[in-house]
Symmetry: T
Subunit: 155 residues, 12 copies
Amino acid sequence: MTSISSPLSSENKKIVTDCLQGALIDLIDLSLEGKQAHWNVIGRHFRSIHLHLDEIVDLARESADLVAERAVAIGSNPDGRPGTVARDSHVTRVDSGYIEDGKVIAIFTDVLESIIRRMRERVDATETTDPVTQDLLIGITRDLEKHHWMMQAQR
Amino acid sequence: MTSISSPLSSENKKIVTDCLQGALIDLIDLSLEGKQAHWNVIGRHFRSIHLHLDEIVDLARESADLVAERAVAIGSNPDGRPGTVARDSHVTRVDSGYIEDGKVIAIFTDVLESIIRRMRERVDATETTDPVTQDLLIGITRDLEKHHWMMQAQR
Amino acid sequence: MTSISSPLSSENKKIVTDCLQGALIDLIDLSLEGKQAHWNVIGRHFRSIHLHLDEIVDLARESADLVAERAVAIGSNPDGRPGTVARDSHVTRVDSGYIEDGKVIAIFTDVLESIIRRMRERVDATETTDPVTQDLLIGITRDLEKHHWMMQAQR
Amino acid sequence: MTSISSPLSSENKKIVTDCLQGALIDLIDLSLEGKQAHWNVIGRHFRSIHLHLDEIVDLARESADLVAERAVAIGSNPDGRPGTVARDSHVTRVDSGYIEDGKVIAIFTDVLESIIRRMRERVDATETTDPVTQDLLIGITRDLEKHHWMMQAQR
Amino acid sequence: MTSISSPLSSENKKIVTDCLQGALIDLIDLSLEGKQAHWNVIGRHFRSIHLHLDEIVDLARESADLVAERAVAIGSNPDGRPGTVARDSHVTRVDSGYIEDGKVIAIFTDVLESIIRRMRERVDATETTDPVTQDLLIGITRDLEKHHWMMQAQR
Amino acid sequence: MTSISSPLSSENKKIVTDCLQGALIDLIDLSLEGKQAHWNVIGRHFRSIHLHLDEIVDLARESADLVAERAVAIGSNPDGRPGTVARDSHVTRVDSGYIEDGKVIAIFTDVLESIIRRMRERVDATETTDPVTQDLLIGITRDLEKHHWMMQAQR
Amino acid sequence: MTSISSPLSSENKKIVTDCLQGALIDLIDLSLEGKQAHWNVIGRHFRSIHLHLDEIVDLARESADLVAERAVAIGSNPDGRPGTVARDSHVTRVDSGYIEDGKVIAIFTDVLESIIRRMRERVDATETTDPVTQDLLIGITRDLEKHHWMMQAQR
Amino acid sequence: MTSISSPLSSENKKIVTDCLQGALIDLIDLSLEGKQAHWNVIGRHFRSIHLHLDEIVDLARESADLVAERAVAIGSNPDGRPGTVARDSHVTRVDSGYIEDGKVIAIFTDVLESIIRRMRERVDATETTDPVTQDLLIGITRDLEKHHWMMQAQR
Amino acid sequence: MTSISSPLSSENKKIVTDCLQGALIDLIDLSLEGKQAHWNVIGRHFRSIHLHLDEIVDLARESADLVAERAVAIGSNPDGRPGTVARDSHVTRVDSGYIEDGKVIAIFTDVLESIIRRMRERVDATETTDPVTQDLLIGITRDLEKHHWMMQAQR
Amino acid sequence: MTSISSPLSSENKKIVTDCLQGALIDLIDLSLEGKQAHWNVIGRHFRSIHLHLDEIVDLARESADLVAERAVAIGSNPDGRPGTVARDSHVTRVDSGYIEDGKVIAIFTDVLESIIRRMRERVDATETTDPVTQDLLIGITRDLEKHHWMMQAQR
Amino acid sequence: MTSISSPLSSENKKIVTDCLQGALIDLIDLSLEGKQAHWNVIGRHFRSIHLHLDEIVDLARESADLVAERAVAIGSNPDGRPGTVARDSHVTRVDSGYIEDGKVIAIFTDVLESIIRRMRERVDATETTDPVTQDLLIGITRDLEKHHWMMQAQR
Amino acid sequence: MTSISSPLSSENKKIVTDCLQGALIDLIDLSLEGKQAHWNVIGRHFRSIHLHLDEIVDLARESADLVAERAVAIGSNPDGRPGTVARDSHVTRVDSGYIEDGKVIAIFTDVLESIIRRMRERVDATETTDPVTQDLLIGITRDLEKHHWMMQAQR
């Protein structure tokens, strides 16, 4: 069966693959938890948060797609199936049921902070192993850090 | 804490809630499995299927959002978190790794067929309990059946 | 003088006409009360509500137009003149002068709830008398219930 | 040879297929007769009718496409070839040569009235056999009835 | 409770408030009567008038919004509720039921003429009291006079 | 009754009229057969052909409209009614039922080839009789020949 | 002083220059007379003719620009100044003051007919002298003949 | 025959009519002389001036249309026929043949200056006679003065 | 060296120049202070104010450009360099560091109020000296007063 | 192996193929030389020429694509590979390094002139051999002659 | 009071903050000086430079916003108030009054050169302290260097 | 003669210039070979590959332009003339005549692989010599690697 050749050495490919797979899980989970809160948030600030979360979900979806397509482009197989996400994700889960607006802000401040921490580790890990992947991860990190500020600013 | 009042009787609300939650799980799973295949498909028909799957993913995402917002609008709490999707979904999972184009067509023909069967049960269950929800489910079923035909036609 | 023939029996036409005329009054009144609050709302949540009300007004205007054109299409004469609206509307009126943001949310939660209740009666009344009209009313009801949820969520 | 599976029982599929094939013939014929009049109409109201007929043709073409794709989606084969349309259509034909504006209005008032009557029979016939198809036919009927009113209003 | 400070002296504010409230009533009523005729007009010129009235309604709605927001901006409370419009409007009402095309033209020629007369009085009254409001009223008057010409030209 | 004067001599008008009427029949038939195959095609190349055929149908519809309006502009009456198309068309008909992708390509290669042959005869016939019509026919021929190449290239 | 070289022989250039200058005068005059009638037309068909004339003015302006730029491109100097247009134009002038709708149709039917006659002479004159210019003139003639038909159809 | 009633006294109407007719002649002439130079300009700055003149022509055409429609709206008959423009215009004419870029700048600086001087007289004359017309003339004057600056800046 | 001639007398030009230069400083300062707060605001209403301030900045930038280009058009030299803004501005400065949302609202309510007061003085000063400039200043004042209301409404 | 059938006789096909291949080489070379100058031009008129050249490059690319696709459509194989362009092109090459603005104008005036001369020979050669190709070449020639004028006008 | 947490160590944060604050001052000053010259430039190349400067201003504004939002995202407070810009900027100021086109080019060549030099120092300083910020600064530097080339090319 | 100053040391400039010139040749050649195959490809997968190649050509053209403009911005002269491309390119050439679809995929998999290998060397070479150029090359490499994957996936 056909497989995709890699522009990277097999050693580097392994490191970069781990970074991309980790980022993929983080971003898919962010998109799903973001939607969960988008639907179930209540409180005086409902509308503002409801709209803000959709911007985060859009970012997460687009970034996940770029990250996964980058994985195939270096000859790996991204895995974004729900079971994998449920098993491997480090993202703090939101509870079921209504979530008060203040709590949404607190949760997503934390969620974004932990994803950013892992993204920065991946930025470091790809610096010499694959600068092309690094550049992609840097761009996503910048967007996540912007939303992290905006979440915090509303506390 | 605030909660959202329902335009439905509590009995009908329970039935409709189950239908919407079931549809939500099906549609989120479809969007995730669709992306998984979008990334990992290989074979001579790669490009055609790669593009087709993205249309299905777009449909699944938009429909999931409508279904979940409908659930809140009738006073329920949709649950679209990855753990819930992984636990409750009836969708046949695609395997990890590369998937040959012919196999993608076979799998998604099956996946769509089983979702459509459940959607039609939900259409029946909501006919008298909530025609407003039923109308939404009918529209989504129509779109799914269109893609089911297109998948089959490529076998 | 020319008049428009009806695809309905005269008995059904009468029932459907009443539903459409009732919906028309509700929707025009909603658009006018919505604008009244859009202009006179004050409070910390001013901007969010000011924008939200304009979405409701847009929905009310577009739906009113569809409902009135549906009435002519079945051979009736819709009546949306200000005197008729003032006389026949069941919508709770907002007071003149400034309206505090919390009060706007309370009033429109009530206003939407009562319109939705009447819309659902019309959905029932048109099920056998004219499924074409019923389908239109169902679509409008869905949109109104969405805004009803969003209003409530901000309480 | 591949064929498309149906979400309907074979009995229901037969009824629904007949409805869709009948609608297809009506709509294709409407699009062709509409163009014929669009080109050959004369009289003081030429421009108004010339433009109005193109809106009807657009509606007829888009609806025909939806109806035919619905037929394949339930496992049938739509037949919209010119010979079939010429043989099976119940639409009153416009004569060749110039058509005076008043006559165009009279003809298309009749044409639309007869198509609407058949569409409503199809709406009834699909209510229990396939609510998904019924919903599509209801939407098309609503648009046709709107243009029927507008044609009549110009008499 | 918060109120909005005015850039005008209290004397000027009173005069300008009256002008704006009067304009608001005229414009809302114009939008509602315009829609009433848009729906119920019949006759050979149906399509042309049906479309023309919608342009007038759009103008009336946009102008009403500008006028009402101008009122709040100078520290007043606009009142555009249906009861107020029904009570205070000077606009000649169209009758219920079908309206022949020639009659629509005659009525709206009159309606626009009387609104324009009152708008010009308001333009005069605001010249020294508030040139900012005057400029807004002049712009609206120009648009109304354009449609007044077009209505007349069709007599 | 009004008729349209011609910029051509009666002799030339006759020749040009025949060319335009012939082209009209070819193009309407192409649009109908193209849709027929667009709906009923099956096989591994389904999606590619399904999309390609819609481009051909769009071209055929737009060209048919230009050709028919050209006919009226030279004082003739185009006839594009289904009966006329069924009777006069030289286009090879596709069969009813599913059509395999390879067969679609073979049929439309032939269909386009025969239409192009007739279009080139019309280009010759209008060179001296009406260069304005010739220029229109040349443009349509160029587009048809482009699709003829693309069909063949897929054999 | 710089001048623009011509791709034509001096003999051909002279013939083509005359054709283009003649077309320029015709088209500028058409645009000015068209606007004159656009403003001063009255009668029941006011709106339809008012809009139609603006399409003709747009066509005349765009064509005049193409024709004049073609003249410079072959090394000539187009002259479209008002005095030249007033002196050289063969277009029948509309009278000052209001023009009844029926009269507008009669005048522009004549105006277009005479311009078309001259355009066809220019098409003949440029066939061998400059096929590039001929192709431009043919395209403009086609558009003028379309509007000529539409004007006549309203008689 | 129908005529359009005026919102102005007959004395004021006469003054305003003269202003509008004068502005119309200036603006049409500007549009024609602007195009003349747009086509015939040569020199190193050709491209810059060629593009700049088209912006002036667009402004002149749009303003002429607004001015003429304003004239009908106050019950007058604008006259923008080529003979009238040739006879009444005060605009300095550009010569025929090529015009060097520096000369174009000099001419249009003068042309705009003289039009602006007359526009300002019209602004004065309409201040009390018709503030609605004055507002229109002020807006056009502002745009002309902007282009006057830009022309001068290139000297 | 070239300079731009003025349509105003030297006396009027001096007055109008001062008005425009004053407005320019106000508007540039508003745009910079607006951005400062846009970046540094914190608090529960962060998102709403963050977005609102960007609308004010857009308005300030566009208005500053119009005001400065108006200054050149009357033969003056606008000065919008940072040193000039820092030296001449009367706008109350926001402090460095984070600014709480409530404080932002209080500050910009004051800032807008003081700019509006000066703009109204400029509107008075230009009434007879240059109505063209006055019209521009009136338009900007209207927009500023709208945002002043919206700021206040959030207190 | 599949090959594309031709609508032309083999003799005509040979002539037309040569014309199209020649045009292809000219147009690709024009696009590459145009970009070369777009990047390396310097001088006071840099910006104007830099932008103008990009319009020429866009035209050359689009025309090359049309010409090459026309070649395949008549059964030939266009050859636009760099080696073929380098070997067969008759276009005068620009030197490497910076090119002064005046020189760019001189070079591209020549380059366009020589391409136009060859294009006109191809227009003649295709008149009887393939009017469909001729029409395409005429259109491209018109665009080239327009840019030739504009280049010259800047000398 | 809330403050924004930083993804950087306090040492790195200090270095990166200085880089961002320095870039902010440079970019705001560039936008203000750019507008100053955009308004006051004169000379034959006025239009070209006037337009070019607006592109630079747009770039400067957008970059300033990204830089300032990046500062908040790393937990700092950007300071872009006019007094700060006037005090801290290293950009060479343009003089008041008209500026000849050649001088504008000389000044902005210098201005861009000095900003680029400082930007490159910031790119170096952020390489290890914050690659996310570095990536942003690199992108801005690339755009500035492009405009630096274009300015120089016009000398 | 003017030349463009460089932000780089002369040593670094030399290295970076070589990288950019090499990338330019690769990308221009890719765009030309891509078009060659776009036109001459045949086989069952014709349409899919025909469309895919145009995306690659668009990428190659846009990237070539960025790379060449980057070269001028660092003070070098890019050379993209056909002779230089033909002489210096390392890209494997496609043969003349028809190319079977499978062969196109094989060739462009190889072509992209070799370009990517050279691009990655350039990314390394510019890391310390010019991070601004490196960032541009990284972005282009990412896009090329994406298409490399897609080509391979179709093998």
